[in-house]
Subunit: 217 residues, 2 copies
């Protein structure tokens, strides 16, 4: 059920990550988590304290790594672009590809982790409590870069476009397999390369349309 050689503390995080991503915070029991980790119930409390602290520990385990990967991708494309700055597509690519890479790792934990991010980002309850603490600084950096690539954009238009990007990304991270059913098997949620290969030009075209000079809405 779970790799019995890993340290128990990690196994609890793994199990919590997966189950929280699938059923949400209230849909999962500490006893379910413990059973999946092959561990006694009380051990979760011993290592993490209250249930809510375990929930947050799951986020913090991978947050720094993920933010660094995305920030480095942005800085790299900025460095390569030089004076003129990177193109819209390059910025969006820097924002999205690190996620695809993480999802395609052998470590399935990343898939669960990003599905969990999708869960809180879409939740009116958790979203305000957790998203800004985790991602605000990084997102503002990207919006800054997008503004330079679209010099005529109004500030508010950039934020609305970012919300559209964030929503499209969130649904892909959630891995609901809805597109599998809808397309009759023609598209598969698990085909992440196809997902991002379609998302990047889609989103870039949207930004350009809405944020180009003197665009009338």
């Amino acid at each position: 059920m779970e790799d019995q050689t890993r340290p128990r503390r990690e196994r609890i995080l793994d199990a919590a990550e997966e189950l929280f991503a699938l059923h949400g915070y209230d849909g999962v029991t500490l006893r379910q988590i413990a059973r999946r980790a092959g561990v006694d119930v009380a051990l979760a409390n011993y290592h993490f304290g209250r249930k809510l602290d375990l929930f947050q520990a799951v986020f913090e385990r991978r947050a720094a790594f993920l933010n660094n990967a995305r920030r480095e991708a942005l800085h790299r494309c900025q460095g390569e672009a030089g004076e003129t700055g990177p193109t819209l597509e390059q910025i969006i690519e820097a924002f999205l590809r690190p996620l695809e890479l993480a999802q395609e790792t052998g470590d399935t934990g990343w898939r669960h982790y990003l599905a969990l991010i999708a869960y809180i980002n879409n939740s009116p309850y958790w979203g305000p409590k957790m998203m800004s603490h985790l991602f605000d600084a990084l997102v503002q950096e990207f919006i800054e870069a997008l503004g330079k690539a679209l010099p005529d954009a109004r500030r508010e238009d950039l934020y609305w476009c970012y919300q559209n990007l964030s929503g499209a990304l969130t649904l892909t991270l959630a891995q609901t397999r809805r597109i599998d059913n809808l397309s009759g098997g023609l598209c598969r949620s698990a085909d992440l390369q196809a997902a991002y290969d379609h998302m990047i030009p889609f989103v870039a075209a949207g930004f350009r349309k809405v944020c180009s000079s003197r665009a009338e809405l």
Copy 2:
């Protein structure tokens, strides 16, 4: 807390709708719902049976009305367009505007209902169980229409673009107020007209970019 003149059965649905939208299925107690409705716990079971049946009753109450409104909007723009068929923007408008209209009603129940739709659409657990039953027929009609407006589009590209549209819409329906914080008050989640006025050209440009003739990804 809740309009005491409405029939109790409706008040239970109202309370369930609002609380489920905010906290999800497992995050809400039948006792919380009953208290909010000003009613005894057992009454929910009397009217709806198990908790899961109440959950589904919430969806079915407004599903037919919503699907009819969107289908009529599509048929209307198809009728007006005549031979050539409606433009991409007109189809997307028919898909989205009925939602904006519902959200802007005095009836706040619609806002909660659509936030609940966002919750299940983004959930790996509920999505497959509920979305296709509720919306598949309607969505296929829209994809059909989109395919006619983009005659060179490959079938799979249409579905991937629809997923991007669905994601952007879902995050807006969820009403998480994240954009309010992120933009420092410049944009407000509650400003639905601004949300849809930005979403429609954004999405239309994305479809065109990805689905136009011989586009290379």
